[in-house]
Symmetry: C2
Subunit: 561 residues, 2 copies
């Protein structure tokens, strides 16, 4: 037991070290791997202190007054600059949802455990449970969709168009370099209700396109397919009914895996007849636009299948509506798209970014992963002569270091008509929706800011009130009050007699566009000096004209990014 | 064991019933207590089914396909209208924080358990722990202040002016009628750093006043005191050093309790000499403005005490700065204000609402609690002849039903110079901050909306595109696309051939200001009918003038509340 604990602590340390290294590189800090590792080695001592057995832990900690100061594994704090980026992305997304008339709801961060069971298949093991503290058994939410379905069933709602933004929790193996966290945001939009074919569905695709246009992170493509087309296609190829989901999950890998490998999986692992596999392969390699729909509609074998034929009619209509919405060029009808989740029943779609930012990120990611691998190698070297198992586990973790996943899917969704039924058999509430991969969009936005050297401000301060002499603090407060009253975002020093140089430095560091300087002379003449921080140009403005002059200037100030 | 479980289930049912009743009344629904109780009785059957022992639970549930559809105890969903109110309050608060140049950060919803221990005294028992799923021991955050201190210590930050809005978790006894939940928002603003006296402190008080002015929920008062003045005052009265915190917590009750009762507590429970208690009483009853500071400054006994004399200098300066900020009239120097939290070290303050909304809410609350009491009485009557313990517990819960707490404190804060030290002895990061009681502000805002019959919209849709004949769905989509392109918030029906009456009803129900109606005639003449929903007035507008005309009208549309 103690031995196992020791190994776990060790692994934890290595993990923490490599995570930190990855983070440092991601932030483009100028430390070399060696320097970082040296730092980490020092952490070893500290960590070893606080990773004692529970019985010893408390007294040790009290003695030294030391804590292991870190956010829980797989989670992160957002600093002010990251928050500015994050809020900016959210703002654009919410604007799009509201443009389409959506309302929003909120549900608790945890649910009664039974609400979440039997919803996520194998992934259920990733659910965080709360301690049983003599009450209900609770779990942290795993996504926003199941709580939404619970909300609909509980309130007997038969239609709603809602968005919801909130954090969800998965006890997955975290990987900062890949942007995989245990606490992350989901950002969902769904239309629930019995409506006519493809009208809500096409609006979801439209919203997805609008958002990706608005966040302005390069070109994108939305792949589209239909669960019923997949069902029909597999059926006519000769896949037994009970193997359709199995085959479907293999086909879904075609965006990253060669057909020969997928075929091998189908034949060898899933016992699909090689001829059947080949027939599937013929279909799955197809992708295109409306002409492909026409082509499949004239495929006699496929068209005799009711499921496939209905799906093709749906897709035909969807493309027609999307053409009206001006997004036809963004769509790609792709027969290999299958989507992982079990609950989809109709149209499915997912969006990927294209363009040079994606290449840039893949490159950065490769670098970060290589650094991670190097750090691991050093750790393994250091661990040599210690327990063999430890080294083996380290080496095992190494295995996936060289696979760079790039940006991946940034938005996805589809129709799920049966989920609300799971909570209340009497309710029929068909749904269609989409989820924006906001964590990925944050990461891409951060990469863009870094690559293009964009200015980002953590605060929105418009003017800073500075005094060049001592004893003027009250005069400063009086000016601040005047500016706050006029709704102008204002700061000043919290030192009574700050140095003028420090005050002006603060303005430049925080990219505050204007400074107001007021000294004895200015007070006597009832004027202020108005300084444009970037150019350092100054002008004298009568005090009673200050608000007016400043407001005009601020209107013309270009908002940073 | 089984017996205990049974009692717990029963109590849970009663609790759920009464909670639901309170909620129904809070929402002003027209059901009588009797009707509601009848409904609840029916729930009994359902609940009894799903409150089986764990081993039986699963099969029962699967059989019936039934879930106990509720949010976890002490938590709630927010529906779209509540969200609109909530977002509106948040928006105003954030605007104030940003007006003063604050940045924002985010921390995870859970922390390593050891970060939270020894921070909350007795209340630590209210912390939610996560299950030990073979990793770190984690707890849900109890407030935002301790994670903030952890963030400062971890990143070795020596100054920051930040706000943070997030949910926190307390396993307290929930009470919907009192607005006490287990999951609720905190909304904090703090200034950390070594600065000059009262400059950050007075800005915190100023921000508190600005926010309460901006949310526009009636007049308010900010009570102010100083921990060091309390310390000095108790000292000169003859309170032993080790009893200062004990005495302080009794004095803090003076806003709700008579002096005679507080004195009794001091003398009988806390063994304070009656003469000492009387001396304290003389000071504690004092409240006023700057003149009271002067008066105490000339109190020779008090002024010889270093702690008290420093505190009075602080308060003098604070009032002077607040006078410059134009909020002197809102302040009340109150020697009975002590604040509960251990970690305060300097100025403390808390704000209460005044005015008629407060009376209205107290009245409503009394009603709701009376209904709750009535429902409990019925439940007790029904439970008679059953287990005695059950009835006793029910009666016990009744005890506090008649105490109406009104609105209470809506914002509070103070200086805490030692908290960051708890994480890192080497760091000296004095802090001062404030916390807005947003859940209470939401409740007051909801009461205001109800009392004044204010219009609140859950969505922001500006125009609805309607068609009066069949077969025009594509024309509708074309118009929607045109409006979305122009950034006009637009909805339409998801039915292919909706009835015109239903479409116009939807507009009125959702308070959408304008409808565009397009039929065969309009298409032929390249015009649309533009209808003002409230007045039902219609005009014909050429299609190419639509965006321009509509944009102008929308600019003039008064935003609801």
């Amino acid at each position: 037991m103690f031995f196992l604990r020791l190994i776990r602590c060790r692994l934890f340390l290595v993990e923490r070290k490599t995570d930190t290294i990855a983070k440092l590189f991601a932030r483009n800090m100028s430390q070399s791997v060696d320097q970082t590792i040296e730092k980490m080695s020092k952490m070893d001592i500290k960590n070893d202190n606080s990773q004692q057995q529970p019985s010893q832990k408390k007294s040790k900690k009290d003695e030294a007054g030391k804590f292991l100061l870190k956010a829980p594994k797989g989670t992160r704090d957002f600093d002010p600059l990251q928050m500015a980026v994050r809020d900016n992305v959210f703002k654009k997304i919410i604007e799009c949802f509201q443009l389409h008339g959506a309302v929003t709801i909120d549900t608790p961060v945890f649910e009664r455990k039974e609400i979440l069971t039997q919803k996520y298949g194998e992934d259920s093991k990733l659910i965080y449970d709360l301690n049983d503290q003599a009450g209900e058994l609770l779990s942290l939410r795993y996504d926003l969709t199941v709580p939404f379905a619970r909300y609909l069933a509980m309130n007997r709602l038969i239609n709603i168009k809602r968005y919801q933004i909130g954090k969800v929790y998965r006890r997955d193996q975290p990987c900062a370099a890949r942007g995989r966290y245990r606490e992350f945001y989901q950002c969902d939009f769904d239309i629930a209700g019995v409506y006519d074919k493809m009208l809500p569905d096409s609006e979801c695709v439209k919203i997805m396109a609008d958002i990706l246009t608005k966040v302005d992170l390069g070109d994108f493509q939305i792949k589209i397919n239909h669960r019923k087309l997949l069902d029909g296609m597999f059926e006519v190829c000769g896949v037994p009914k009970d193997k359709i989901r199995l085959v479907s999950s293999s086909i879904d890998k075609l965006d990253k895996t060669e057909w020969t490998d997928v075929k091998k999986e189908l034949v060898e692992e899933k016992s699909i007849d090689p001829e059947v596999a080949d027939k599937i392969g013929e279909y799955a390699k197809l992708s295109g636009g409306m002409e492909l729909i026409d082509q499949l509609k004239s495929d006699e074998v496929l068209n005799k299948n009711k499921s496939a034929s209905e799906a093709l009619d749906d897709l035909d209509l969807l493309f027609k509506y999307c053409a009206i919405f001006g997004i036809k060029d963004k769509l790609l009808f792709d027969l290999s798209l299958a989507r992982g989740l079990d609950y989809y029943t109709g149209v499915i779609y997912e969006a990927i970014l294209k363009g040079d930012l994606v290449d840039y990120i893949a490159e950065q990611q490769k670098k970060a992963l290589a650094e991670k691998a190097a750090a691991r190698a050093v750790a393994i070297e250091k661990a040599k002569g210690k327990k063999t198992k430890e080294i083996l586990e380290l080496e095992d973790e190494d295995a996936d270091v060289n696979v760079s996943s790039g940006v991946g899917t940034v938005a996805a969704g589809g129709r799920y008509d049966e989920l609300v039924n799971m909570f209340d058999k009497k309710q029929n509430v068909p749904c269609v929706g989409l989820s924006i991969g906001v964590e990925r969009l944050f990461a891409v936005m951060e990469a863009k800011i870094k690559r293009d050297n964009l200015k980002v401000r953590a605060c929105e301060t418009e003017v800073y009130v500075a005094t060049p002499q001592k004893g003027l603090v009250e005069e400063r407060l009086r000016l601040c009050q005047m500016l706050w009253e006029a709704n102008i975002k204002t700061e000043h020093s919290y030192k009574a007699n700050p140095k003028i140089l420090h005050q002006l430095q603060y303005c430049e560091e925080n990219k505050i566009p204007y400074a107001i300087i007021i000294g004895q002379d200015e007070i006597e003449n009832r004027v202020v000096k108005l300084r444009e921080v970037a150019s350092r140009a100054e002008e004298t403005v009568p005090r009673e004209k200050l608000i007016e002059t400043l407001s005009e200037k601020l209107l013309k100030t270009i908002k940073t990014y």
